[in-house]
């Protein structure tokens, strides 16, 4: 009786290498300060796309533009051919984009299971009456969603804390639950904002393995913002380097590691050996 793999629980990304996200010449500024300055890139199915850059380079701002929190002044963002500008964040989530946050955004006074079930919220398709009566479609869907969530619990090894309150969990586990909640939304594009910030070595390795396995088993698009360079270089297919909101390079990890502009802006003299855990130069 082996563990299920993610594609047995969640929808997979389909044909590999198809463009799912197109970001075209996006500009975003706050009171004249340019946060994102002419950024363009594409993310494909089955691609791990990493965005790197010093603090304040605009990485999280790009996330916020994609997920609809900010509206860029200029440019376009298209997801699976559909224009995202002006679409409300909850609708964007409903289209199949899920994200995690730098500072964990979970319901601390709810259990792990309930937080994950909330991730299934948009996959509940029954009326209030059915929900109250707990019959028919409502109970069937509830059971189906519970199966999906249990598959995620198994994937992330959350069995021992299934019924624990999130607020009682150590930080590393909370990050894992947050990844689970994003997965529960059955995304086609998963955006991870510094998933290993503040983690110790073992937790970092676990998280890297989860990301690797998600990509292998689902083949969806993943955007990763991360300071932990070793992890980025190990996992990413494409690395996109930013500085002061401006793109400075895009390429494979080895190309980026050898790019003089990137080395100057970000990696420092000893390229590729930036300190672990977010303390970027």
């Amino acid at each position: 009786m082996r563990a299920l793999r993610l594609h047995e629980v969640l929808p997979a990304g389909g044909e590999s290498g198809r463009v799912i996200l197109e970001v075209e010449d996006v500009h975003l500024s706050f009171a004249g300060v340019k946060a994102v300055d002419g950024v363009s890139f594409r993310v494909h199915t089955n691609e791990l796309f990493a965005i790197i850059g010093p603090n304040g380079a605009g990485k999280t701002s790009i996330f916020n533009c994609i997920s609809g929190v900010y509206r860029p002044q200029q440019g376009s963002i298209r997801f699976q051919g559909r224009d995202l500008l002006g679409v409300r964040p909850d609708r964007i989530a409903g289209l199949g984009i899920a994200r995690t946050f730098q500072n964990i955004e979970l319901f601390p006074q709810m259990t792990v299971l309930d937080n994950l079930m909330l991730g299934r919220h948009q996959h509940l398709n029954y009326g209030t009456l059915a929900a109250i009566a707990r019959v028919g479609k409502a109970s069937r869907e509830e059971a189906r969603n519970r199966e999906v969530v249990e598959g995620i619990v198994e994937f992330l090894g959350l069995q021992p804390v299934r019924k624990s309150y999130v607020s009682m969990l150590p930080y590393g586990l909370q990050k894992r639950v947050e990844l689970g909640r994003a997965l529960a939304m059955a995304p086609q594009l998963l955006m991870l904002d510094e998933p290993v910030a503040g983690m110790n070595l073992e937790e970092t390795e676990d998280m890297a393995r989860f990301i690797h396995d998600i990509r292998w088993e689902l083949g969806i698009g993943i955007i990763l913002v991360e300071h932990e360079m070793r992890m980025v270089m190990d996992l990413a297919d494409t690395v996109f380097a930013l500085d002061f909101g401006r793109p400075i390079a895009v390429g494979t990890p080895s190309e980026i590691q050898n790019n003089p502009d990137v080395i100057r802006a970000y990696l420092g003299e000893e390229h590729g050996t930036a300190p672990a855990g977010g303390g970027a130069a």
Binding site: M1, A3, R5, E147, G151, E154, G157, Q159, W216
Partner: protein, 619 residues
Amino acid sequence: MTILADAPAAVTPAVTAASRLRQVARERPGEAALRVKNRGVWREISWAEYWDQVEAFGHALLAMGVRPRDRIAIHSENRPEWLVTDVGTIAVRAVCMGLYPTNPTAEVRYLLQNSGSRLLVVEDQEQADKVLDIPAGELPALERIVYIEQRGVDRYTDPRLVSWDDFIAEGGAHRRAHPGAVEERMAAATPDDLAYLIYTSGTTGPPKGSMLTVGNCDFAGSMLASADGLINPPPGPRDFVLSYLPLCHVYEKAIAVWLPLWTGAVVNFGESLETLMTDIREIQPTVFQGVPRIWERIHAGIQVKLASASRLKKLNAGIWLLVARWLGKTLARTGGRHTPLSGVAYWFGNLFLYRALKERVGLRRCRFGVSAAAPIAPEILQYFMSLGVPIHEAYGMTENAAIATTNRPGRVRLGTVGEPYPQIEVRIDEVTGEILTRHPGSFVGYWEMPEATARTLDEEGWLHTGDVGEWVDGTHIRIVDRIKDIIITSGGKNISPSEIENSLKTSPFVKEAIVIGDRRKYLAALIGIEFEVVSEWAQRHKLAHTTYRDLSEKPEVVKLIQRVVDETNAKFASVEQIKKFTLIPKELDHETGELTATQKVKRSEIEKRFGDLIEAMYR
């Protein structure tokens, strides 16, 4: 050695784990044999399905040309596939060898090389990585690696790899092409067939592979199933067992493999070791095998729960625990039988407190608890006895198929490992005090180690256990210590460190205790704290702390442990008292070599590693 690999087929084939399984599957095909918690739900595998899987696994082994006496290894946590591998291997008269999930790569290499295993079943990527780290050339015998969990492993390209599902499918194809081939092989089984190589964890020297035969297992299985054996009334299909101790250890083999196959009891597999306490609560096993560490953990769990209860509940608990203390003393005196008065007291206590406590820790239905593998403090046994959870300390070892002595219901004598099983011989050597056993469960030797075999099994068939023991009232046996662990102080006094250590470990605050003093002026101890419990204590006393080391170094914690040491010292004669102690700055671990795979402290390793701490106590 008398192993006849190519012995002529016996007229009646020997009873093996596989033939037992086939028998039960015929009698009760649709009933649950195995239960496993999977994605939050308990799922059942019937006896018929269990046998079907075992037969398919056996066919897959035949398909790759496995011959009698070939070795098949498995490296996994407890799960149904473990049992399928075990019994399926025996079905084709091959030999099953289990590895501890915690075995690191170096030990995996040694065990696979030493056993010459042809096939290895690995649970997942973690275990697969260990064997794949070993250059294939160093494991010439190893032809195939079967992986159960596909995650991560399915992207590897090593040609030896095959998934469990595919392997079982190969078996299915072989079964269609050669129906009855496994049964044919089973019909040729003899009692002298090797069934297992069980490697002893080796607190000294490299692990040795004990060879247990089909006949050994049949003897042990029959002993466990018989009315005058371990459990009374004998176990049956209504009994629930939880499998959670390492299945490559003879203790778990006896309770979770042989006992169910010889009696029809149901085996449960929890979600993981981390969820053990929840799993026990959900299963409420009727027969529960624990090692002292587990019983101590359950005991500590009760204490913590009581400490955080409301005032009214505390009052109620206080009263009934006082009664329990008296009950414990009474039962210890009577061997576990209630007197009329204690019976009434227990009935009320059960109503007001004990039943609820037992329910909370998962022992409400537990009619028979066993403690073995290491000595347990009598205080713990007495505590559980008073709550109505009878724990019977038993004694056995790999080399005698776990069959030697046990405490029987109503005849329990705390502090002893009980009485010899019926029909077996046990004696204590007059000169050395060593316990010797002789019965059909005695192993046939260590794999490819004739000298070690000769040292352990003498010409008359007596097994030398290496344990020093003494008779109590001529019926029960008390274990003094391992022969090689006895401390002789510079004053010439013989002291058993484990008695003192166990007394220290009865405190919920103490996880490990190592008493030192061989050829020294006085006794000293290294003590490891139980982090969770001490941390909880520290929080209640508003003592900020971070890591294990930090907590161990707090003067308040040292004072706390000093009280524990004082309590223990009060129980012992002056030469047996601990004059100094030091708290160990880290948690001991198997991977770092301080514990064996069975979590026993490697004394020599500790003395080496913490040599400076030890020396400081004698300055």
